[in-house]
């Protein structure tokens, strides 16, 4: 431990401890806050010839592009391989088929408006201006998504004999113990003259407030951890403190504890009322385009002044030639579709990796968690299921759809992916029981969505490594002939709708520049 702390180090420390709120204030002070951006895409009106556009893939990105191009008078046709529109924006409801490759499942949920499972898109942060802008423009109703819940649980096989703890207890005690250490460090005068006088006093008050210490700088427990009992008609009884060394053994402090500090996960977040697929569905009534379904693109051929696509429809090979093409097919699948792109461009497409995330959802006959004070949010465990989610919607209703797992680690997703759908549910129940004993008693049915096994997706994202991104992203953001590669994959935010819509607007900007040049030139 360094013996002297400079002002800057302190600010850094406050920044990481105080999280995004503190950073926000610093940004305001330094005038670093982004200006409110316009969500309007500029597209020149189509006139005369050259107005046909073919779009590959009917995901959010291409739906938004079609919406903008049609406003400007272009004729659009969308070619989609799968049997549904929406791509990776998927909400699963009663009777839906989950198109897992080689192993389709059917969803047995009851048919009720609140009994749905957002298998991919879960949350929208406030700085996702394009997503929120389109929701406003198209009338998608939003509600709050609970990103962090201090009543949710923290469970780790390596700490407290695997006993689940309330997150608020863990967090309060972790801060208390840390602050007590800091407070002791001040006492022993390891701080140099920089922190003499008022600064030192403020710092010591900050530390006491941060950890809820007593006047002597000791941590004796805090009501932030929740009361053990009482507090209404009888006096509140504080909880005793946890064992610090056990607390450190839990892996919760590595990730989960700071989750809601992160750029994209800080409260408040939003979701669409009734399921996040309302977002892409809001575009559909405004579109005139023909959407060809069950039509897997077979080849992409750049011509001198056009792009030719061959695809399968009803067991037959068909062709379509258009003036322009927007292609959102996951790049690692596109790498298996014959084309005549340049070598370098193909090299870019061949560099995408597969993101592997998976979710398991259960229909619960009773919202038992709400009787344990848990309304929405996430519980954390060190087991391969990683996270358990409680729905932010349908609070106080009888039944609910809860996530029995949301795994982010490739090895965990692959492991679940190799199981049969039933074995996945059994395994998720076995692990979940450590977090919620008797969990299984409430489960009526369940489904799993293993994103790297979903047909025509084979990944929760197709994304570039940072090195490959440096090498290829700029190239892929430029048109290849009259062909534009799009989708969240062509952005710094793969795995976010904002990435998909940003890529859409970027491509429209490129497109617009070309069309304008053609007009004036």
């Amino acid at each position: 431990m360094p013996r002297h702390y400079s002002r800057r180090q302190l600010l850094q420390w406050v920044g990481s401890a105080g999280g995004s709120a503190a950073l926000y204030q610093v940004s305001v002070a330094l005038g670093l806050l982004p200006l409110t951006r316009s969500v309007k895409a500029q597209v020149v009106k189509a006139r005369g010839e050259r107005r046909s556009v073919v779009l590959l893939g009917a995901g959010l990105c291409n739906l938004a592009i079609t919406y903008e191009l049609e406003k400007a008078g272009f004729d659009c046709t969308i070619i989609e391989a799968s049997g549904r529109i929406g791509g990776r924006n998927l909400t699963v409801r009663s009777g839906d088929v989950i198109d897992e490759i080689g192993q389709p499942q059917k969803c047995e949920f009851d048919d009720a408006p609140h009994l749905y499972f957002n298998a991919s898109v879960a949350r929208i942060p406030a700085h996702h201006h394009l997503v929120l802008g389109y929701c406003r423009e198209l009338g998608v109703e939003l509600e709050v998504f609970i990103t962090e819940n201090r009543h949710a649980l923290v469970q780790d096989d390596n700490a407290y004999c695997g006993r689940p703890l309330q997150m608020r207890e863990y967090v309060a005690d972790a801060r208390g113990f840390m602050s007590e250490l800091m407070s002791k460090a001040i006492d022993t005068r390891v701080f140099d003259a920089e922190f003499s006088g008022e600064d030192a006093e403020r710092l010591s008050a900050f530390i006491r407030a941060y950890g809820d210490l007593d006047k002597q700088g000791r941590y004796k427990g805090s009501d932030r951890a929740g009361y053990a009992s009482g507090g209404m008609t009888t006096p509140a009884i504080k909880k005793g403190t946890l064992d610090f060394s056990e607390l450190l053994k839990s892996n919760f402090w590595r990730r989960g504890m700071h989750w809601a500090e992160a750029q994209d996960y800080a409260a408040p977040l939003m979701q669409a009322v009734g399921g996040n697929d309302k977002i892409f569905k809001a575009f559909l009534p405004h579109l005139k385009a023909r959407i060809v379904m069950g039509a897997q693109v077979q080849t992409v051929t750049l011509k001198e002044e056009a792009v030719q696509i061959s695809y399968n429809e009803d067991g037959q090979r068909k062709h379509i030639t258009a003036d322009y093409c927007f292609n959102s097919i996951p790049a690692n699948i596109m790498n298996g579709i014959p084309n005549n792109f340049s070598k370098n461009y193909r090299g870019g497409l061949a560099s995408f990796g597969r993101g592997k995330l998976m979710k398991i959802a259960f229909q619960m006959k009773e919202r038992f968690w709400e009787r344990q004070d848990i309304y929405g949010g996430i519980s954390w465990t060190n087991q391969p299921i990683e996270q358990i989610w409680y729905p932010s919607h349908g609070i106080n209703k009888q039944k609910g759809i809860m996530l029995g797992s949301y795994a982010w680690t490739n090895a965990h997703s692959e492991w679940f992916g190799r199981m049969t759908p039933q074995a996945r549910l059994d395994e998720a129940i076995r692990q979940g029981t450590k977090v919620h004993p008797n969990y299984a008693d409430y489960i009526e049915n369940g489904v799993s969505v293993i994103w790297h096994r979903m047909n025509h997706q084979l990944g929760c994202t197709s994304s570039l490594s940072p090195e490959a991104r440096n090498k290829y992203l700029k190239l892929l953001q430029k048109p290849e002939g009259r062909h534009y590669m799009v989708g969240d994959q062509i952005s710094y935010q793969p795995g976010w709708q904002e990435g998909a819509l940003s890529a859409a607007h970027h491509a429209l900007h490129e497109f617009n520049t070309r069309v304008q040049l053609a007009k004036t030139g």
């Binding site: 080689g102 080849t299 699948i333 014959p338 190799r418």
Partner: protein, 215 residues
Amino acid sequence: MKKVVLCILSLTLVLSPGIICAAEPVTSQPTPERFIYCTVCHGTAFQGNRSLDAPNLSILGTWYVKVQLMNYKKMIRGGAGAKNHVQEMQQMVTALDEDAIGEVSAFVGTMKSTPASSTIFGDSARGAKLYQSCGTCHGADGLGNETFGAPRLAGQHDWYLERELVSYRNGSRGAAEGDLYGAQMRASISMLEDEESIRDVLVYINTFNQTLNKN
């Protein structure tokens, strides 16, 4: 067997090959609906896709495709402990019965060969010498030989062949009980003593005429 023959006939009768213009890459007739999922990984012309670890099937004969699909089915390839991509392929046959396996093998057998491009560098002349012993089974032109169960190598992706040769060597392929063909190939791998020999022989295999018809 009869079923397979019938199937090939009906496919060739019903599906006329698409008209291919000069600039467009080579493709064959549309893949039947129920086997489209194979092409999501293996490519729409079954030409293979390195991004998904999937080999070129367009060069392979019906007989070999069938043998390997049955190997996956019986977990001779892709059993517990196998690498994730091998298990991933293994799961792709769980929903297929023997008839369906015959059907898809027959379809793959009708695909036009799309040769792979080479990615490996090495000493082709040395590779040619090393290949002499391989040729006994795989044929001097690398076109394969059904009698020995030896697949076509000409036109296959070199990164895949390399990966498989390493697998034979370390026993993750060819060592499972009941894998007779695999055991034969595994016995032959000792001829390639190191990585360099593997690369040299693959560079030589890349020189084969890849457009020849398959057998």
